[in-house]
Symmetry: C2
Subunit: 199 residues, 2 copies
């Protein structure tokens, strides 16, 4: 194309690298940035830099934080006898939004997936075992994604932890609230049947 | 929410301000940035800053450039007797992609819209008139959006320019190529009928 504005193209290609952003959207976002006051672009640039530099893993639960300990690990009001094990920091945010869980978390940063070369050693399992060693924890809730990899990780951890005489639970399978029975897949429905409870 | 990581929230809210990006997508993009090497975030931040600082309006056609003149205005091979008038720099990119147009452009940066308080004085019409004064230009192509505002701007400019003895044309209305007659609206179809040509 004859019309080549290098700094603009560079910005478009940076937006394009984000997941789910195609070329057209990237262009639209770049033009939006140009149409805004320069301070806005500066603030955006600072936010990018700051987030990447300051946010790191919590030294205890491996979730994200800009402090030594994340706000949950450092919150004295949380129930320290329960740890909810999740694959990703995003899952911590999702569970926190329920406002129903008051224990601690542990983020594995992935799930066992031999095809992708991810074994137990690539996950933050060592750190979890270290936390269990203190003896304070009574229950572990497995909140892995309902996928083959998530299941494999749950069973691996359950086998590893059972001998330590801890309660190991996992999230209930069933039909999602607000969903439509007609559209539920067979596996979900049969799990919902299995897990039925008295009214 | 108890789980509050300030630099992360700041990045999420910056993404959220972009057009068409909701909270969930903003969160996904922010987590993506955190999962990338720090150099990537630095490059993104630099691209934002650079684009906003270096890209400005071409002193001739008012399109975007990081030089004094945009690549089209400074290209000696372009036909200087034709100017295509558009609302937005994005339209220049769109027309350039056809590779069919070899004249110059003029970007108005908007269209006349009394309801939004945009009159002729808020658009780059003065700059267009100055370019026409040189007498080099023979034809003006109105390529405004097919909206009420675009139409109003076209007619306003046509009235203004007609006395100067220039050819003023506008883009053809008709059914979009690859479209479906069945789904074309009445106005488009009647315009396509009006503008029918012999095969």
């Amino acid at each position: 194309m004859a019309y080549n504005v290098v700094p603009l193209n560079e910005l478009v290609s940076q937006f394009e690298r984000l997941p789910g952003i195609g070329h057209k959207t990237a262009q639209r976002l770049a033009f939006h940035i140009l149409s805004q006051p320069p301070e806005r672009a500066e603030k955006f640039a600072d936010a990018l830099r700051n987030a990447r530099q300051k946010v790191h893993y919590c030294s205890c639960c491996q979730s994200l934080t800009d402090q030594e300990l994340c706000p949950i690990c450092s919150d004295a009001a949380r129930d320290r006898t329960t740890i909810c094990v999740v694959e990703d920091p995003r899952d911590v945010f999702a569970i926190e939004r329920t406002r129903e869980y008051h224990g601690l978390y542990h983020v594995l940063h992935g799930a066992i997936s031999p095809l992708d070369g991810i074994g137990p050693d690539q996950l933050r399992i060592k750190e979890l075992m270290a936390r269990l060693a203190s003896g304070e924890v009574k229950e572990l809730i497995m909140a892995m994604n309902p996928t083959v990899e998530g299941e494999a990780t749950s069973s691996y951890l359950a086998r590893l932890i059972k001998p330590m005489n801890l309660k190991v639970t996992r999230l209930a399978y069933g039909i999602p609230v607000g969903g439509d029975l007609e559209y539920a897949d067979e596996v979900t429905l049969s799990r919902a049947l299995e897990g039925r409870s008295e009214i």
